[in-house]
């Protein structure tokens, strides 16, 4: 392999916080048209690797090793050397693309500005190029819109178009499919492949094995800052050698064992003729349903079709336009509970988890030792409780949220994408814990998920919402 044909190469890249290594000895090289996928749990150092390559590591961290970028070689700690390449050679597609766009500027000017200022095109030419790009991304109709007027998938495409507008041939994408449903996931993968086909190379950070499989190319599995396995994506995923990779692959929802159905009990909730819409646009109309204890009811469908709204209507958080929701008699007012996609947002941010849980225990006259036992059963370390919600990982916090919900002895739990932001291992663990706890109590589950495989493995009843 000659150096001249290599577009991006990294040698013995490491990141240290003081003397503590956060990432160690990563090496790879990509030629035009090649792709590299980084897999691993959150906190494994995937994002640090991207930041070290970009040269925008936080000041407290120190990078080591060498980076070769489009024929320019520099030491990893010389971040400045690569800064001039930002946008022109090296582009980053950040997490949460909707937040990466300027909220005060329409989409087309953001794009033409990039063409003009980064690529150095003349004004008219930049405008024409922007229009062409938007057309190619299927965003021609949204050119005059603001970022917040776009759906998640559209914002994703817009951010990607802007990121690539400077003519960068090396694209780093940080969890580009996080929170997207299957349709937009495939769309994002296609977008990354088109960068690849046009002679660029792509580094993708993800915890979705389907993305890794679809992109192919090279694969690095990271764990706690160390490379545990590296090689051809298809080979590694088909026959993983390292124990961690094996566990990771086995934890993929497609490999989850189908959960045994439990005997269903008395009905906990029934609804007749439910209708709800927003702004004159109906989401669902004349819906009848009945949920029994032990049911696992799965709701699927594209975003914005009313899955969460149905849940909120059933929980009594939103009034229905028409129809009635009946709770079974004898259920307390707190018998219906909810788990959120983003558990951090569902806790009071300024108090410790222990205070939040103690409040709930006191409100429902549960003994505190009982709550602690519950936490232990759910695998939450006790020393976690002193922290605030933002200082705990997503998987652990979702378990704390589950413990909180179980404290009030719910008859029905509405779980809105409770695991979609977790890596496969944490996802499987969290889902198992949730289902075991509900089975044990004979409570019903209503689960919203984008993931077909999870729906297959978990659901006893499945409903699919469609775009109208």
């Amino acid at each position: 392999m000659t150096t001249s044909s290599v577009l991006l190469a990294v040698e013995n890249l490491g990141v240290h916080a003081g003397a503590r290594p956060l990432l160690r000895d990563v090496s790879f090289s990509l030629r035009p048209g090649e792709v590299l996928t980084l897999l691993g749990e959150s906190g494994a150092g995937k994002s640090l690797l991207a930041q070290a390559v970009m040269g925008n590591l936080p000041a407290a961290l120190r990078a080591g090793g060498r980076v070769l970028l489009d024929g320019v070689e520099s030491r990893a700690e010389e971040a400045r050397a690569r800064r001039s390449l930002w946008g022109r050679t090296l582009a980053l597609l950040p997490q949460e693309p909707a937040l990466a766009l300027d909220p005060l500027m329409r989409i087309a000017p953001q794009l033409s500005e990039t063409h003009e200022l980064v690529r150095g095109a003349a004004f008219e030419e930049a405008e024409a190029a922007a229009a062409r790009d938007l057309d190619a991304a299927g965003l021609a109709a949204s050119a005059r819109r603001y970022a917040w007027e776009l759906s998640g998938g559209m914002a994703q495409r817009a951010a990607a178009t802007v990121a690539c507008a400077g003519g960068a041939r090396v694209l780093l994408a940080d969890e580009p499919t996080k929170g997207l449903d299957a349709h937009w996931r495939d769309h994002t993968v296609a977008m990354l492949q088109s960068v690849q086909r046009s002679g660029g190379c792509v580094v993708v950070i993800t915890h979705d094995l389907r993305v890794a499989r679809a992109l192919g190319g090279q694969l690095i599995v990271l764990r706690a800052g160390e490379v545990v396995e590296q090689g051809d994506a298809q080979t590694v995923l088909a026959s993983p050698r390292h124990a961690y990779t094996r566990r990771l692959v086995a934890a993929e929802p497609a490999h989850w064992p189908r959960r045994a159905t439990v005997a269903t009990g008395a009905p906990v909730l029934s609804a007749q003729g439910l209708s709800k819409g927003f702004g004159g646009k109906p989401l669902f109309d004349g819906l009848d349903l009945q949920i029994h204890a032990g049911d696992r009811f799965v709701l699927q469908g594209p975003s914005g079709t009313g899955k969460s709204t149905l849940g909120n209507v059933l929980l009594g958080l939103l009034p229905a336009d028409r129809g009635v929701v009946r709770r079974a008699e004898g259920l307390s007012s707190t018998a219906f509970q909810k788990l959120y996609q983003d558990p951090v947002g569902s806790f009071a941010p300024s108090v410790s988890l222990e205070s939040s849980l103690r409040d709930v225990a006191a409100r429902h006259r549960c003994a505190w030792p009982g709550v602690l036992q519950q936490l232990e059963r759910l695998g939450v370390p006790a020393d976690l409780l002193g922290r605030r919600p933002a200082e705990v990982s997503g998987g652990e916090l979702q378990r704390v949220a589950l413990a909180r919900v179980l404290t009030v002895r719910p008859a029905l739990v509405f779980a809105d994408e409770p695991t979609s932001r977790l890596d496969p291992l944490s996802q499987q663990e969290a889902m198992d814990v949730l289902l075991d706890a509900l089975d044990e109590r004979g409570a019903a589950l209503m689960l919203v998920t984008h993931d077909e495989d999870i729906a297959d493995a978990v659901g006893t009843t499945r409903w699919r919402f469609v775009q109208t």
């Binding site: 936080p58 407290a60 959120y340 947002g345 569902s346 806790f347 009030v408």
Partner: protein, 278 residues
């Protein structure tokens, strides 16, 4: 993800250290002014209204540290009384404005609908009249009375609390955390205590200092143009206008109330300098 966390903490570390220094400076200034206004009058022990026509316009000396004015009154004694008046009245007006302002703001965003529209309309109506004009209006109703100024100031200050409290509590009330709390069976009192107050406290602390500074300045401005408190009350604005004719022969006179006013406002601004809430 680890990276961005460390990044944020490193940055805010430096920034919050600087902000902490500024806050400490502000606190020290305010504390000294407060001590001066609380204990000054007793320690100095001179009646601020006692005239000694034989000793007019004395320069600063051992008997009168800041000299005497044209009527032979001790400037230091008058300044201490003026500081007590300004600080006390401003804080009282700011707190009186804060309580109904915050409560109404929370009620507006909590209840929404007609109640919110009505309250917003009321606030906008008050806002459409310049604050000083409102105070002036009350000052004219009862010239030279403390209560008129106090009511006028409070009435012009509550709107800011209302608007900020309404805007800041809306995302909190609409958030998942409050929804979860309600599902778990908690009532409005809990939502107020656990969710709203922690979110509002830092903003309101800032606002309290700003509106107190605003009240101090308004009081001095009204005194200066002669429609606020009336002589012989020792008041910063009144003292300035009394000293203005003598600024050439006795410049230390006018310097004293101006410096005190500046210190008061500066202290309040520094106390709430930007940075992470402690």
């Amino acid at each position: 993800m680890n990276g961005s966390l460390l990044d944020a903490s490193a940055l805010t570390g430096r920034r919050s250290r600087r902000a902490a220094t500024r806050r400490r400076t502000g606190f020290c200034i305010l504390a000294s002014v407060a001590v001066f206004s609380l204990f000054g009058p007793a320690v100095i022990g001179i009646d601020p209204a006692r005239q000694t026509l034989a000793d007019t316009l004395l320069p600063p000396g051992a008997a009168h540290w800041l000299g005497t004015d044209v009527l032979g009154r001790s400037v230091l004694a008058r300044l201490a009384h003026a500081a007590r008046l300004s600080l006390g009245l401003a804080l009282l007006a700011a707190v009186t404005a804060a309580i109904p302002g915050v409560l109404l703001g929370v009620v507006a965003s909590w209840r929404g609908g007609r109640i919110e529209r009505g309250l917003v309309m009321l606030a906008d109506a008050v806002l459409s009249v310049p604050g000083l004009l409102l105070v002036l209006l009350f000052a004219v109703l009862a010239p030279g009375r403390y209560w008129a100024l106090y009511i006028g100031l409070s009435l012009s200050l509550w709107v800011e609390y209302f608007r900020v409290a309404r805007a800041a509590s809306r995302p909190v009330l609409a958030g998942d955390a409050v929804q979860a709390s309600r599902l778990l069976g908690f009532g409005p009192g809990y939502v107020l205590r656990r969710h709203l107050l922690p979110a509002l406290a830092p903003v309101l602390g800032t606002l309290l200092a700003f509106s107190a500074a605003q009240a101090v300045l308004a009081l001095a401005a009204l005194g200066f143009i002669g429609v606020g408190l009336q002589p012989p009350t020792p008041e910063l604005g009144l003292m300035m206008i009394e000293f203005l004719p003598h600024y050439e022969e006795a410049p230390w006179l006018i310097a004293a109330p101006v410096a005190l006013l500046m210190l008061l406002v500066l202290g309040m601004m520094l106390l709430v300098s930007e940075g992470e809430p402690a």
